[in-house]
């Protein structure tokens, strides 16, 4: 599989322990050009940790991570700007790469925040800030785009539009996207491959395969196959305080 030129990242049996507890374990996943991989799972299931493993931010990991691109953009789950640092949207857009004014404007325009270009980052609302983060990430035309809950704080209509935009970007830039979300319902339509995570991979496959998977139904409840489900979390197993997995019926 590694000979496939479309593979951007391949992680094999990856896991990470912190103070003797597994944060995530045995994750296998490939990200291909032009495809969107979505990781879903409850809070604390290791979604962000997996994204950081993909990005090489965790050093002491088990397993193997192979990265075949250097053109990477990252939207972290949380970015906080210190008051001592005066920084405008314009300054933030060129944080890791120099861009032409046209490229900056186009990207901000795509996420609907071009009017905020000279505003200070600290003055933006949560939703506006997320749109700026996304604009910066796509402006540098990456080959691999890692988005950790990119639409948090964005209103519902904006959320649907931004997922549509993410889908469009993966096609126009032909870039691989790793998307982390717990907004299961909206994400399903804009994704090629889904990984359900809960400390380990519960199930994975195409959205249709996953929706039919019994583990997925167990994880998210039967109604989830109707896609617009109320979030439910139901398990065949429980997690002990130290992260071990214990089957219910054992």
């Amino acid at each position: 599989m590694t000979n496939n030129p479309n593979v951007l990242v391949k992680i094999t049996n990856a896991g990470i322990q912190k103070s003797g507890k597994w944060l995530v374990k045995d994750v296998n996943l490939e990200i291909h050009r032009g495809k969107i991989v979505t990781i879903i799972g409850p809070n604390g299931s290791g979604k962000s940790t997996t994204a950081k493993i993909v990005l090489g931010l965790h050093k002491k990991i088990e397993g193997n991570v192979q990265t075949f691109t250097k053109k990477i953009s990252y939207v972290p789950q949380k970015v906080s700007i210190d008051w001592t640092l005066p920084i405008r949207v314009l300054d933030f857009m060129v944080l890791t790469e120099d861009l032409k004014p046209q490229e900056i404007n186009d990207a901000l325009n795509l996420t609907g925040v071009d009017h905020l270009i000279s505003r200070n980052l600290r003055d933006l609302s949560g939703g506006e800030f997320q749109r700026v983060l996304l604009a910066r990430a796509i402006a540098k035309k990456p080959e691999l785009l890692v988005l950790d809950e990119p639409v948090q704080g964005v209103d519902f209509a904006g959320e649907v539009a931004l997922y549509g935009l993410i889908k469009k970007i993966s096609e126009t830039l032909n870039c691989g996207i790793l998307l982390i979300s717990h907004d299961l319902h909206v994400v399903m339509s804009a994704t090629d491959y889904v990984v359900c995570l809960n400390g380990h991979v519960c199930c994975s496959g195409t959205p249709v395969d996953v929706a039919r998977d019994k583990h997925y139904k167990e994880l998210f409840g039967d109604k989830s196959s109707q896609l617009l489900s109320i979030y439910e979390h139901d398990h065949d197993h429980v997690h002990t305080a130290d992260g071990d997995i214990v089957k219910n019926n054992v």
Binding site: P76, D82, P86, I87, D91, R122, D123
Partner: protein, 265 residues
């Protein structure tokens, strides 16, 4: 012209203000003011070693301060102690070791006050060369690492994910700070150098809305402090180093008027 002590002091002060402006911004943005103090305290050890073994003073301070800085980075990785505790540990141990060594050097005539508070008026032509050549190198290196350093200041993980090598540029930046302290200790003194780094920069923050503007205003604040401070210390016969810092403080207070209008943006 270089025979005139006041003129030499002015040239030295301009050179230092040009470097403390941009470095000071990163010190404030990255919350490193206590780190600056630690490096400055370790400079006493450097001064004393240079006196004891008859070494070049700037190079010795630079070596000792860089080693303390790299030791700190290492300790941060290998121990679980919080950074401020590690800084206190290094800061006061190097100060104490320096003072103990000073006790052994009783046979040498040594002006401790000059090291603590600086003696800008004793600056000679060699010191000027150290400040301007050293300062030029510091600014040049800073220019090269500006983008990755700034990116890792805004968000470390984002910078690392996008290939900016934050760990490497952080190490380079701490060495630049050590170099600044080495060239400026004779003039500003180890107790006041952090003041030169921080005070004009905090003034600049009150008046700016983007990073470049803050750097420029911080340099201007430093230059004004040097000009007015030197002139005042000459006129009213006070120590030059502290007078420069007091002027910087007054500029900061004036800048608070600017911040009121901005209402803490």
């Amino acid at each position: 012209m270089f025979d005139d002590f006041l003129f030499r002091a002015l040239i030295a002060g301009i050179g230092i203000a040009l470097v403390t402006g941009p470095l000071g911004c990163f010190v404030v943005w990255r919350r490193l003011s206590f780190f600056g103090d630690t490096l400055a305290h370790s400079a006493l050890l450097g001064v004393l070693l240079s006196v004891a073994f008859d070494l070049n003073i700037s190079l010795t301070i630079f070596t000792v301060s860089s080693m303390i800085a790299l030791l700190l980075l290492r300790l941060q990785k290998t121990t679980n102690l919080p950074s401020d505790a590690l800084l206190g540990l290094l800061s006061h141990s190097s100060l104490a070791v320096g003072l103990v060594i000073l006790g052994f050097l009783s046979f040498i005539r040594f002006d401790i006050m000059g090291v603590l508070f600086g003696d800008i008026l004793s600056v000679n032509v060699n010191d000027l060369l150290a400040i301007w050549i050293g300062g030029a190198i510091i600014l040049l290196v800073l220019w090269f690492i500006w983008k990755p350093l700034f990116a890792s200041t805004v968000n470390y993980e984002l910078a690392e994910a996008e290939g900016m090598h934050p760990e490497r540029v952080n190490a380079i930046f701490t060495i630049l700070l050590a170099a600044l302290i080495a060239i400026s200790i004779k003039m500003v003194g180890l107790l006041l150098i952090t003041g030169m780094l921080i005070i004009p920069t905090t003034m600049a923050r009150n008046l700016s809305n983007n990073p470049k503007q803050m750097v420029i205003l911080s340099i201007i604040g430093g230059l004004l402090s040097v000009f007015i401070g030197l002139y005042t210390s000459f006129e009213i016969n006070t120590s030059s180093g502290p007078t420069i810092v007091v002027v910087a403080l007054i500029l900061f207070i004036l800048s608070l008027i600017g911040i009121k209008k901005r209402n803490y943006g």
